[in-house]
């Protein structure tokens, strides 16, 4: 009797799910949405989901560890394992594919805003973005000490760029293809990117504490 009731329950829930089914997608993962306006938002959201969701269980893996095709399969697997909605899984997938695509990320989101002067106010705002919306701490560490997939930002050793303010801002704006470093991580604005750049520059040059 209990088996029958359980089966009925499963059937009803599955039926309700199918009834709400969206049309079958033709997006197999090889062709993530390429419209510039939506891609930036998708990559930003995917980056934020990647940094916040994956590390609930394990260290985030570097995008360059897998091919695009493998990421498509892995994210289908993780949709089930991590209980993601299909939309969430595809946002993360698109972020990973974009991070693997050198032609897709750099320059796409570049802003023409003037480089601001690094002020204490800017540094303090950057600290909040670094530890919050930017999700920078997730990979670079709460004290900028670095982690398994991201370098330290607290010394004068730089894997990308020269370490000056403009170079740091450039990295935040463009991301680093083939790595988890997305352009505008966490979907932050260009103004917030400048704040984070100021904060990272100040800490790495001994002008501020982390």
């Amino acid at each position: 009797m209990r088996l029958l009731a359980s089966s009925l329950l499963l059937f009803v829930i599955a039926y309700l799910g199918l009834a709400n089914q969206t049309p079958v997608s033709t997006d197999t993962g090889d062709t993530p949405a390429r419209a510039d306006t939506t891609l930036a938002a998708r990559i930003g959201l995917g980056a934020e989901l990647f940094s916040r969701t994956c590390q609930r269980c394990h260290n985030p893996r570097g995008p360059a560890e897998r091919t695009d095709r493998e990421w498509v399969i892995i994210m289908q697997h993780m949709q089930t394992r991590a209980n993601l909605t299909r939309k969430q899984a595809r946002l993360v997938r698109d972020f990973l594919l974009a991070s693997n695509d050198a032609d897709l990320v750099p320059g796409r989101l570049r802003s023409d805003l003037e480089t601001p002067e690094v002020t204490d106010d800017l540094i303090e705002k950057g600290r909040l973005v670094y530890q919050g919306a930017g999700t920078c701490f997730a990979c670079h560490g709460g004290n900028l000490e670095g982690g398994p997939i991201a370098p330290s930002l607290s010394d004068d050793q730089w894997k990308n760029g020269t370490g000056d303010y403009a170079s740091i801002l450039e990295t935040i704006r463009n991301g680093v293809p083939g790595t988890a470093m997305a352009a505008y991580p966490g979907g932050i604005t260009d103004e917030q990117a400048q704040q984070v750049a100021a904060y990272v520059w100040a800490v790495s040059h001994g002008r501020a504490d982390h």
Binding site: L10, I73, Q76, N83
Partner: protein, 417 residues
């Protein structure tokens, strides 16, 4: 009496078989086979993933168990059939304390119904608490050992009386996920599986590991309580189910922010041949994150009906004799067990110190202590070479009433691929 086929019918059957076997492949060679567009399931791809590790366990007190190397290799195969259908399977090969164990950890097909629901069928890791389903792989588990409520899986010591194995079973489940925005989510799973059975041979392995292996000393002592014979529970159904009663369970989880997640889960099933003895379990899982701090914990309670004062060769046999009265009122007692574990980790660059506390309380049935209490403190230090490549050092302090001293030092190199 068999009648020979009419001569002309044999002719036509032969012709059809010839056409299917002979002509079919020939036509395929000419056309290079159907295109993806013609397939019902356009196949997308295959990839190999998985994890492994090698360890060394040092028993720090005089005991019968010598120091041992251990190793585990668990390849995971993912077959993407389409963007809605995925088949995934994991084998597990493990050598620990001189015993080689092989296992089909899971083999399941995932069918994504829509944005929210996925049906999973086959053998799968049970969505009960979180450790079994998500945290037990060596490159994810922050320590070489598993919490004391679970049986051994990977390396180092297992408690003498684990409450549950790493749970996987055969059946079907429905999984749901709902995004409420701002990283707030609600998740839910319901499942129906074969459920536990009476272990065919409780001496086969008391490590509480996967399939077909008994639930350790809880089962043994259940047998003692019952007067002898087999009494342990086995999950995973290496044997066929022993009754028509399937296990029903579910998990409901919510995350109010990216930094906090909780879920409650439960399952229940009859486990003896006639479906009168029940096993149930409830779990509460909590986890939190704050910058480089992570906290995981699980609180688990189980109830297992036991036969009292029976003289039987097994629970099924005992039930068979119930007509004479041994299972009358008062003939069944319920063993109630409670345990929990809490783990904290802090990440600083490649280093990650970890502390885990596990505690099992006395398991009681009818006022009698059936399984002993135990406490375990695990102190570890991890060094991450890569996001999925880690060297783990652990000092494990066991405080169990049934054992004198089995503190251990464990070293494990683990990787995910």
């Amino acid at each position: 009496m068999k009648q020979p086929l009419p001569r002309n019918l044999s002719y036509w059957i032969g012709l059809v078989l010839f056409a299917l076997v002979g002509i079919g492949p020939a036509s395929g060679q000419e056309t290079d086979g159907p295109s993806d567009a013609d397939r019902f399931f356009p196949r997308q791809g295959f990839m190999l993933s998985g994890y492994g590790g090698a360890g060394y366990n040092v028993l720090l007190a005089d005991g019968e168990t010598p120091n041992n190397f251990s190793t585990i290799f668990a390849p995971i195969m993912l077959f993407q059939i389409s963007d809605r259908f995925l088949f995934e399977g994991e084998f597990e090969f493990e050598i620990e304390e001189g015993v080689t164990a092989t296992d089909l950890e899971y083999a399941q097909i995932d069918v994504s119904l829509n944005d929210h629901f996925t049906v999973v069928a086959g053998k799968f890791l049970l969505p009960f608490a979180n450790f079994s389903e998500r945290f037990h792989p060596t490159w994810i588990n922050r320590l070489p050992s598993v919490p004391a409520v679970y049986g051994s899986h990977g390396a180092a010591a297992a408690p003498s009386d684990p409450m549950l194995p790493i749970l996987s079973d055969i059946g079907v489940q429905l999984r749901g996920a709902f995004d409420l925005g701002n990283f707030r989510t609600i998740t839910a799973e319901v499942f129906v599986t074969q459920g536990p059975v009476v272990a065919p041979d409780e001496e086969e392995g008391a490590d509480g590991h996967n399939d077909g292996e008994p639930l350790g000393a809880a089962g043994k002592r259940a047998a003692v309580l019952g007067g002898g014979g087999a009494g342990g529970l086995a999950f995973g159904s290496n044997t066929s189910d022993n009754n028509d009663n399937k296990m029903v369970g579910g998990r409901f989880g919510f995350s109010l922010s990216p930094y906090f997640e909780a879920n409650v889960s439960g399952m229940t099933a009859a486990y003896d041949a006639t479906g009168d003895l029940n096993f149930s379990a409830l779990a509460l899982h909590l986890e939190g994150r704050h910058r480089q701090f992570t906290l995981h914990s699980e609180f688990i309670r189980t109830w297992q009906d036991l036969l009292e004062e029976e003289d039987h060769e097994g629970l099924a046999a005992a039930k068979g004799a119930s007509a004479t009265g041994p299972l009358n009122e008062g003939g069944v007692e319920t063993l109630s067990r409670t345990g929990y574990w809490v783990q904290m980790a802090y990440r600083h660059g490649p280093w990650q110190p970890v502390v885990r506390w596990s505690q099992l309380f006395d398991g009681k049935a009818g006022g009698e202590t059936v399984t002993d209490a135990g406490r375990q403190l695990a102190i570890g230090l991890d060094y991450w070479f890569e996001p999925a490549f880690v060297l783990k050092l652990e000092y494990l302090i066991n405080d169990e009433e049934v054992d004198i001293d089995n503190n251990r030092l464990a070293l494990q190199l683990a990787f995910g691929f």
